[in-house]
Amino acid sequence: MFSHLIVAYIFIYICLGLIGLGIILLLQMKVSHNKEQHRREMYEQKHHDYFKYIQAHLEEEGALRLPPGKLKPLERKVIQEKYMEWIEQFKGDYRARLIQLCRDAGFVEADLKALSSVSFGRRLDAAYRLGGMRAEEAVPALLQMLQKGKYNSLSIIIARSIAKSAQKSEDVLEMLRILLSHGKPIHHLAADIMLESGMDASGLLLKLLDDPDPALVKVGLVAMWGQAVPEVMPVLGRLVGSEEKDVRAEAVKLYLSSNPALKDETIVHLMSDRNWEVRAAAAKALGPLHAAGSIPLLVKALQDANWKVRYNSAESLAALGEAGFEALCQAALSGAGIQREAALQRIELVMELEQEHSAIEQMVAYNKKRLIHDRYFGVKRKPVKRMTGVAAVGGDYTA
């Protein structure tokens, strides 16, 4: 029993010792954090006029003055952070002048030195700041750092710094290659990182889309969403025939979103693609393209196994004038199951939305549709009620 108690006593003493150490550590941390915070506020106040001067003289030619007096390490940190904050906010000449100011103040040089520190924490801090200061000279070392490290959330911080600092598209491509070499499907994140680059987006996108590595092509395609880059449209046309399933789907979606003229055989080909994303994108594009010849294809697509394809087909049919709307009514009346459901849903939406018409043309178009609607469903003014419970049939969750 005695020896057992000794084990327990040892455990108690260890706990007591660790509690004592922990409380001392906590107090020391709290006091030093608060002190640092206080000094930061003091330095911000001290350099208030200098910060005003910088903001007022960003437009003027000639070098900007460095902060006055001999600076303490924390003071330098506060000023550097302010420069970096402005670099993020401004673009063009303002940004360039602030970047130069970082160099003149020796911040870039100091952080380049810190990149070779033995402490990973210091290296990472420096990497982040060098990205903030758009230090091109740091890119080779940052690429090396990214290459050596394991993939984790900190790799993303280094990758963003490279994207911000790089002035050569090869460096951005190299960064993306390293990032994607871990085999993770992080194309969206990689595209977001790539878009942090200050370089011309169209040049970068062209290089990505021409790259033999499908992963890089995917990054390029993903990055194109929301970007108007007409130069890459010919490359997109080529990628529509890609053998890579994901690449083809993304390329088709982008290609069709630009409302290109499509041949009938291309439409048939796209609407029968094995990938639902391709079929959905094709169905969506047919309405705005006013491809009235594709009405039978769209009606057939109302039976597609995928919800999105059915939804887009019904939407496009409704956009194809009276002929499209009539086809929709026919499908609602004579169709069954999911086809009928998709058609009815769109009809209800059309009748509901178009009741709020304002312009004469819209009123005329609405009245024509109203007539077609009444021909199929009678002259009831109430919206057509769906059969309860049908909505759930064939539901999928691919969204």
């Binding site: 006593y9 409380i23 915070q37 900190l154 993770k184 969206h188 009620k385 539901g395 969204a399």
Partner: protein, 462 residues
């Protein structure tokens, strides 16, 4: 002596888990400090999320919470509030505040069975807000109804009495985007809002609670989330993502049949089901904890409410462990089967019984021979000091990575309440858990009383 060794072993395991939290804390600090949320929160490349907010009798807090959710820094998302047959004015205050109208034929794509939906309300002026009005069926049922109606590939469950920090969702999305194929669920850090200054649906000034019950819970949450979940997340052994705030892949939630209705503990249940599904299908996956994504919640501030909540948790935990006993020590389930589940059964579910029987035995032993009072004292000291050390450890983690409590007096208060917790509160926790187990045996599966205070009042009280 068995009892004393049990206490030591339990605490050594707690220390080991906390050790893993320490191993990760600097990475968390750096990623939190250096990740670029400004660009991400405006990017079209971020995945769209459906926020699901089950609400039952939340008329006091719901408006403020919905405003908070509608102003998050996130590019594309929708807020779906599910009124679970509230008997108060939850639905009518929402309709009147947002000018909602019943949708004539809303599209419901999901097929998970739920209670009957009475209607879905929407106002095109608030395109991302939808209110589902349904018959009462419980929290899990409401979440399932939300999933059925949701439009986006990711879902996030949020309690109606909680406030998200503006960047909370984008921080989680960043974590998801770093490993989208494997990430099936991400939990956020839940903190106690009692005592904080709340304005315009956001916590403006962080302070510790003034009342004793929320203060104990504040320490408890800090210990559980920072001290425990970071470590469990590191080894992919998280058994729970708090129902107050979590992000999930919708396709996998549907693949496991959605949330289990009819019993509390649905937040733990869905995570266990996800682990089971992914491991059974040999799919690579991660269930992660994102401590920098913070959700502030109202903690119960009266004995009645907190005891109800803890009994419910006790019941939920026991039910989940019994339901999933097949995973125990089953190598097929890897960390879950070999570590997490046994740990939970031995050191969480059965913990009160070990402690109480041990204490009673020691007391009896000492009463028989008063010369052995030292053993009893040793038992008490072991319990207290090891538990206190864990609290100190969690406060250090907070100070390293987050530093939300700025004042030195806050630190003293946390240290004081970490000690006071062992005089009464800790013992009550053991009692509540046993009462929860008794309720389970009596087949009592009610949610229990839960009253809310408006955020305004809460803020004024602070």
């Amino acid at each position: 002596m068995v009892t004393i060794y049990y206490v030591m072993i339990v605490n050594i395991l707690y220390f080991a888990i906390m050790g893993l939290s320490y191993r990760n804390i600097l990475t968390i600090f750096r990623r939190s400090k250096y990740s670029s949320y400004n660009t991400l929160s405006g990017s079209e490349l971020v995945p769209s999320v459906s926020l699901l907010v089950p609400a039952y009798n939340e008329e006091l807090t719901i408006i403020e919470n919905v405003y908070c959710l509608m102003t998050l820094n996130y590019p594309t998302y929708e807020v779906i509030v599910i009124n679970d047959g509230s008997s108060d004015k939850t639905l009518s205050v929402l309709i009147s505040e947002f000018g909602l109208k019943k949708m004539s034929n809303p599209e419901i794509r999901g097929t998970i069975d739920t209670q009957n939906m009475r209607g879905i309300y929407h106002n095109p002026d608030y395109p991302q807000l939808f209110i589902i009005d349904k018959e009462n069926g419980g929290k899990a049922d409401s979440l399932n109804a939300g999933i059925n109606f949701s439009h986006y590939p990711l879902i996030s469950s949020i309690d109606a009495d909680s406030l998200l920090e503006k960047d909370a969702l984008i921080r989680m999305a960043r974590m998801y985007m770093e490993n989208p194929e494997e990430m099936v669920a991400i939990g956020g850090d839940v903190r106690i809002a009692n005592g904080c200054l709340i304005e315009n649906g956001a916590v403006q000034k962080v302070s510790l609670p003034r009342k004793i019950w929320p203060m104990f819970q504040s320490i408890e949450y800090l210990k559980a989330f920072l001290g425990g979940r970071i470590g469990w997340s590191h080894m992919n052994g998280l058994v729970i993502v708090s129902g107050a705030f979590g992000l999930f892949r919708k396709d996998y939630v549907i693949a496991v049949g959605g949330y289990r209705g009819g019993y509390p503990g649905e937040d733990m249940n869905i995570i266990i089901k996800l682990h089971r599904y992914m491991l059974s299908h040999k799919l690579p996956y991660r269930v992660a904890f994102c401590p920098e994504a913070v959700c502030w919640t109202q903690a119960p501030d009266s004995y009645k409410i907190i005891s109800n909540q803890r009994m419910r948790w006790g019941r939920g935990n026991l039910k989940n462990m019994i339901e999933n006993r097949g995973m125990l020590f089953n190598p097929k389930y890897k960390v879950m089967g070999m570590i997490t589940m046994p740990y939970n059964v031995l050191f969480e579910t059965l913990n009160p019984y070990f402690r109480i029987t041990g204490l009673l035995a020691l007391m009896g032993y000492t009463l028989l021979d008063m010369t052995h009072w030292r053993i009893l004292l040793t038992f008490f000291l072991l319990n207290f000091l090891s538990g206190y050390l864990l609290s100190v450890g969690a406060i250090i983690l907070e100070e390293i990575a987050f530093r939300r409590f700025k004042k030195l007096s806050d630190l003293w208060k946390m240290l004081l309440f970490s000690a006071l917790k062992f005089v009464g509160y800790h013992q009550l926790g053991v009692l509540w858990r046993i009462q929860g187990h008794i309720q389970y045996l009596r087949k009592n599966n009610s949610w229990g009383a839960m009253t809310r205070q408006s955020w305004k009042e809460e803020s004024e009280a602070a």
